[in-house]
């Protein structure tokens, strides 16, 4: 009776939610990471104001992806969360402190430095934890009979620490290129200055992870050095976009660095997906193993088909309303 594969549709929805989250929360987490290094308090104000209208909406995709996982691929939910138990807590604590700091910093003068600290630490911890999740996903999970059987710190290995630091650098790069787009004067100069450095760090981590990954995961090794030569297009495209970032920063173009950074992310993400496909809980379970009952997938799909266009329209509208530069001493009203 199945005329189309609901699991594939859901994989697309969740895959889309994840990359939307990474890109959109990525640049505001990145600004949080760069926060302590900003040249002055004016720059910090501009950084915060540049994401103020959008940051909370960005986290929409995290909640949407999480809720969708429980409904559509419950096995992912019930293995990832136990396996990443401590990491999940640190990420949530980071995101909460950061969110509260964001709101109350604006309403505070005397206590502002405390909220500054909470904002940058919260952002850094959340970004690191998310990078670790990526690393843990590449590593795979120890499972038996649909249950996680590994230890409390399987997710914390030298490899995942590298991916954690890598994503921190990657988010910082998204943040700095976003700032190039949204600022001017000495703040923009600063963002131009740090971008090549951040790009350098990202490329180094990119290289380390690429070389290391096949040794961590046998399946990935075979995928990359087997017959499927076409797969190399993804890292090639990612490197091409990295070159674009570098060149456009040199030419001082305002919007290209950010757009090209998005390109790096998209192709790295696609490369990551094809190295594991169709494994969704590596190394043992495919997305069909992890799926919930078709009736349950369908029941929620109906609601999702209504809400996703609404969220996309709302998001696009918000970014449109708050387009343009953010100036010192001036917020949105």
């Amino acid at each position: 009776m199945e005329t189309f594969d609901l699991s594939i549709i859901w994989a697309v929805i969740i895959g889309f939610s994840v990359i939307m989250y990474v890109l959109m929360d990525g640049f505001d987490l990145g600004l949080g990471i760069l926060f302590p290094f900003a040249p002055d308090e004016d720059a910090r104000d501009v950084m915060m104001n540049s994401v103020a209208p959008v940051w909370d909406g960005n986290e929409t995709w995290l909640v949407l992806g999480g809720a969708g996982l429980l409904a559509a691929f419950p096995l992912v939910y019930s293995i990832f969360l136990p396996a990443l138990y401590i990491g999940v807590f640190l990420m949530l604590a980071g995101l909460i402190f950061r969110g509260v700091a964001f709101e109350l910093r604006f309403k505070s003068r005397r206590n502002r430095h405390w909220w500054n600290r909470a904002f940058s630490w919260g952002s850094a911890i959340a970004a690191f934890a998310q990078g670790v999740v990526v690393g843990a996903y590449i590593q795979g999970f120890q499972t038996e009979d649909f249950v996680y059987t590994g230890g409390a710190f399987d997710w914390l290995t030298p490899f995942t620490v590298v991916t954690g630091l890598g994503l921190m650098a990657g988010y910082a790069l998204l943040g700095s290129t976003w700032l190039i787009l949204k600022s001017e004067g000495h703040i923009q100069d600063w963002a131009y200055k740090i971008t090549p450095m951040l790009l350098g760090i990202v490329l180094v981590v990119f290289a380390i992870v690429s070389i290391w990954t096949p040794f961590v995961n046998q399946v990935v090794w075979e995928r990359w050095f087997g017959n499927l030569r076409l797969i190399w297009i993804f890292p090639a495209m990612a490197l091409f976009f990295a070159f674009l970032v570098f060149r456009s920063v040199k030419q001082r173009r305002e919007s290209y660095p950010f757009l090209a950074t998005i390109g790096i992310y998209v192709f790295t993400y696609l490369g990551l997906i094809v190295s594991q496909w169709p494994m969704i809980v590596p190394p043992n379970y495919t997305l069909w193993d992890a799926a919930s009952a078709p009736g349950s997938q369908l029941f929620l799909l109906i609601g999702m088909l209504f809400v996703i266009p609404v969220i996309l329209m709302y998001t696009a509208w918000t970014y449109w309303v708050f387009r343009g530069k953010v100036r010192v001493g001036e917020g949105y009203h």
Partner: protein, 471 residues
Amino acid sequence: MELDPLVLSRIQFAFVVSFHAIFPVFTIGLASYIALLQGLFFKTQNPAWDRLALFWTKVFAVVFGMGVVSGVVMSFQFGTNWSNFSLAASNFIGPVLSYEVVTAFFLEAAFLGILLFGRGKVPQGIHLMAATIVAIGTFISAFWILSANSWMHTPAGVELIDNRFHVTSWREAIFNPSFPYRFSHMAIASFITGGFVVAGVSAWFLLRGRDPEANRRALSMCLWLLLFLTPLQAVVGDFHGVNTLEYQPTKVAAIEGHWETATNVPLLLFALPDQEAQENRFAVGIPNLASLILTHSIDGEIPGISEAPPEEQPPVMIVFWAFRVMVGIGLLMIATAFTGLILRRKDRIYENRLFLKTLVGMISLPFIAVLAGWIVTESGRAPWLVYGIMSHADGITPSLTGWMALFTLIGYVLVYAVVFYAGVYYLTRVVRNGMLPAHEHASVDRDADRPKRPLSAAHTPFDDDVDPVRS
């Protein structure tokens, strides 16, 4: 000491969910109140209604924001600590909990923004409509959450295949047997909570002689509402109890503190249940009253706790006393509402300082009553997670160790302590600022007003060095 991940996970879930529940319980009632105020303003054009609506919308914004923050943690708890349950029940609870998220997103994207920031920018009728839809939306959110919860108490519409629940009828699963009672009981509880908070804050303003016209109206409205709802809640609670007697007799036995099945059962007012000895110490009761309440007949038979083997009994002491806290506060609320009716003669409700002070003091009581009620229903189903089918021990994450659970429990307590402190401190400032006309506010906000950031609607500084009342 051996750290038990099961006990620690239950404590953690209870802590996180209790902390979260405080906020929606209040916002659900408050949203309807704001819609009512907007409606009255729309109809009469009396600016007092508008001032009240504006003020309570600010409070709503802050409380709603805190509810969202604490709710995000909830959506991960099922997976981190109860992964076996999540996997087994995902076919039902997955879509149902996700529909709550879908509902919330719809609201935030469209109507919450208009309610929070549209005042004076959109026509009054549209603003009223947005307020009404937000109020309805909070009920739809509660609908999904309570449906999932009720299903765990009275599972229906599913069959168990290979340790996974499969939905055979969405209608039967969503509208499971205890759902209508739990939903009504909770909806009324939200209205009562909102009513007592608004009454208490209005009384606080009246004691200080601030904006008496608007606050008198608010107080009077709330007291009429409470006069009607507090006795109604007792009746609905009774129906809920009778439903529980049918599906979870052991819980009712624990509530009543009756160990043995018997007829002509007394209503115990005081007792110290002893789980080990399976009996009470120091029991004081009113003869035959429990039989009358539960079976509506003076000599009705009520099953005892001992019908269930000791390992399938809930912690009787907790259930017994939490129930008495809830009912005790409920009776106090009814008494307060009726005192208000008596004091209406010659408008003494607005002047009797003792009565006004009592109302201020009662602001926290509905929250305690709601939490006590949840403790009754959740502890009372122990050891069952899905009643009669899956126990807490079956549902827990197998890889979870005691120290992991302890680490996150302490962590969440610390995180929430900071968030709660900052939130309540800020809320107090918003309330103290009161119903000043908008142009007398010195806004320190330089940020964007977005519905995804409800706190931005409060427009109140956080600390003292910026004078909030610069006139």
